[in-house]
Amino acid sequence: MAPEAPAKVPAVRPRVEGPGPLHRFVRWDVIVTALLIVVFLGGAFGTSDFATSDNLSFALDDLSEIALIALPMTLLVVAAEVDLSVASVLGLCSALFGALWDAGWAIEMIVPFLLVVGVVAGLINGLLVTRLGLPSLAVTIGTMTLYRGLAYVVLGTKAVAEFPQNYADLATKTVPGTPIPYPFALFILLAVVTAIVLHATGLGRALFAIGAQEEAAFFAGIRVKRIKLLLFVVSGIVAAFAGAVYTLRYGSARADNGLGLELAVIASVLLGGVDFDGGKGTLGGVVAGVLLIGLLRNLLMLRDVATEIQSIVTGLLLIVSVLTPRIAALVRQTRRHHRGTTPAASS
């Protein structure tokens, strides 16, 4: 996670990670998109119940929270940080949702309040990382446990149910005329916004710069700490909102809601080709990664494939997604060595 120590950087042996001509070799996000298309077509032609609008809307609705949280997570991972506390923020907000609803609060009040909780949760993560310089992996493992603990303090072990139907519908019904559930429609909207931020703005370029070389980005005048703090806050807000969606979608507010969801989110982001060391990745890849995991799971379930096999398939896919770019890089490096001893990067 940590940026490379500046001592290593000096001119002795420049890293050859730059956008050389061989960079195109490793467009994992393209491969994932291709895989997604293969899975979809395979499903559509091989399994009669797969490509129905009913089934697709179920499959997409199932992905709601993972997909939403994957957006800020992509930004974080690109900037070489990670937020493992997202599922606990979701759980905390679900618990708060239940407790406040029980206490007679209006939903229109509860949701904004949850977003504020998300801001606070994100601020705590962000401040610990940026002000104290702690690694985000460690910080958010801590807050993951902390926020989940708070969730149990709020709601204990009980479950609150019976939320109003009109809001439950909002979390499960589809946009009229399409198989796209409302939460997923929101995801599409936010994905477009995130894609623009990441790939077409100065902020996006700054994220890549931070992820590739934090020191260099800092000396180039990028306000590294402020940007990172913002990322954690956004991650908190989105996780909090996902908590509200989750609660309404399942109609059950519980402290253990979304347990382990952070791993599914990170898996989707990595599968989408974002480099865990930061500095590389595309949002399109992540969207494809999220969809691939979701549709593959749905397809395997429709075909009555045992749960264990489903996990194995997803696990292998993930390993391949992390390995492929590394192996490709290794191949590149060996080739370069064979070509001659010129240590300089190409072009």
Binding site: E108, P112, F113, L123, T157, A161, Q165, L230
Partner: protein
């Protein structure tokens, strides 16, 4: 980028709260809404209808690879063959409510005739189950109930009251009616465990149990390792603990294993609900004197027949309707669409070798 992004976010949040402060949908304002869903309204039972051939049933246990659920489901799958139906078991590998939802949705797509579910959360599974019922899929809850208006019938393994009270009676016998006891349960929201624990607490109020003090209810989440650790934790916190009641097959085995290998062996009584095969070793070496369970095979078998009777129109789930459940004979649907399997069996070293499941 904005100069003060955080300030902007805070402001936006504050505005949102302010804007929302006036009126809205609260628990009280919405409590009137009627969400009975696809209740069995209109349908009438025809007790003489023959069981349909080729029915497709799907068992959706709390989690797959749980030895107890496997026995129930396999017996149900065998039972379905008797009336010419096919049944399968599908389910998540973790006992969480959300993972059952995707399976229900899948089963709807696969157009099953009936879904048989052991609900992880009675409310969370409700929405999709209502969807299933609106598409003429009959829903049978077994082992752990779903909300009443989301299923057609519930096959109760034994009357919850009987189980809860008999657990206390059994434990009282084992510890001589005096001392601290703890309960090691499954997940904190498990419907059946919580009902039993409710009756256990009620039974403890009786004067004959005044010497027994329930010090803690711990949750092992039906995870072997976690249940093991919870047992360890209980004995660290209460070294003078006399007994542990684990009303879950995963919990009782983990508790027995911990006690077996610890200095508490012979000092702390373990009882609860377990399967004979799983507990045989501990009964024979004296760690566990007695435990209870209903016959899980009969539970799955009965559920299978109930599903078939529903799907064939013999019953609709109304109180008083009767159906034939193969070798188990005739059953009657009780209050709230419940069908009771029968009283639990107590296993000890004298009879345990008669059972193999």
């Amino acid at each position: 980028m904005t100069k003060r992004p955080l300030a902007a976010v805070a402001l936006a949040a504050a505005l949102a709260v302010g804007a929302a402060a006036c009126g809205g949908t609260t628990k009280n304002s919405s409590s009137g809404d009627d969400t009975k869903g696809a209740a069995a309204g209109g349908a009438t039972a025809n007790p003489n209808a023959p069981l349909k051939k080729g029915l497709k049933l799907a068992f959706l246990p709390k989690q797959v690879n749980n030895p107890y659920e496997t026995i129930v489901d396999n017996a149900g799958i065998e039972g379905a063959k008797e009336f010419g139906g096919t049944a399968k078991e599908v389910g998540p590998s973790d006992a969480s409510a959300s993972s059952q939802i995707s399976y229900i949705n899948t089963l709807i797509q696969q157009r099953m005739d009936s879904i048989l579910i052991a609900a992880n959360d009675p409310n969370a599974v409700c929405g999709p189950l209502k969807q299933a019922r609106s598409r003429k899929i009959k829903v049978v809850a077994y082992d752990s109930d779903a909300s009443k208006d989301c299923r057609d019938v519930f096959i109760n393994q034994a009357s919850s009251e009987e189980i809860g009270r008999s657990e206390i009676k059994l434990m009282s016998e084992l510890i001589g009616g005096k001392g601290k006891i703890a309960i090691l349960s499954a997940t904190a929201n498990a419907t059946n465990q919580n009902t039993w624990i409710g009756f256990m607490k009620d039974e403890l109020k009786k004067p004959e149990y005044s010497g027994i003090q329930l010090v803690k209810v711990a949750y092992g989440d039906d995870d072997d390792q976690k249940s093991f650790q919870q047992t360890q934790g209980l004995l660290q916190a209460y070294p003078d603990l006399k007994g542990i009641i684990a009303p879950t097959t995963v919990g009782i085995a983990a508790a027995a294993r911990y006690i077996d290998g610890s200095k508490y062996k012979g000092k702390v009584a373990v009882s609860g609900l377990g399967t004979p095969n799983q507990m045989r070793k501990f009964v024979k070496d004296g760690t566990v004197a007695k435990f209870e369970l209903w016959d899980p095979k009969n539970l799955g078998y009965l559920a299978s027949y109930a599903a078939a009777a529903l799907a064939s129109g013999q019953i609709t789930g109304a109180e008083g309707e009767k159906f034939k459940a193969g070798k188990l004979g005739e059953r009657t649907i009780g209050k709230d669409g419940e069908v009771i399997l029968g009283p639990p069996t107590v296993f000890d070293k004298n009879n345990i070798d008669n059972y193999n499941f």
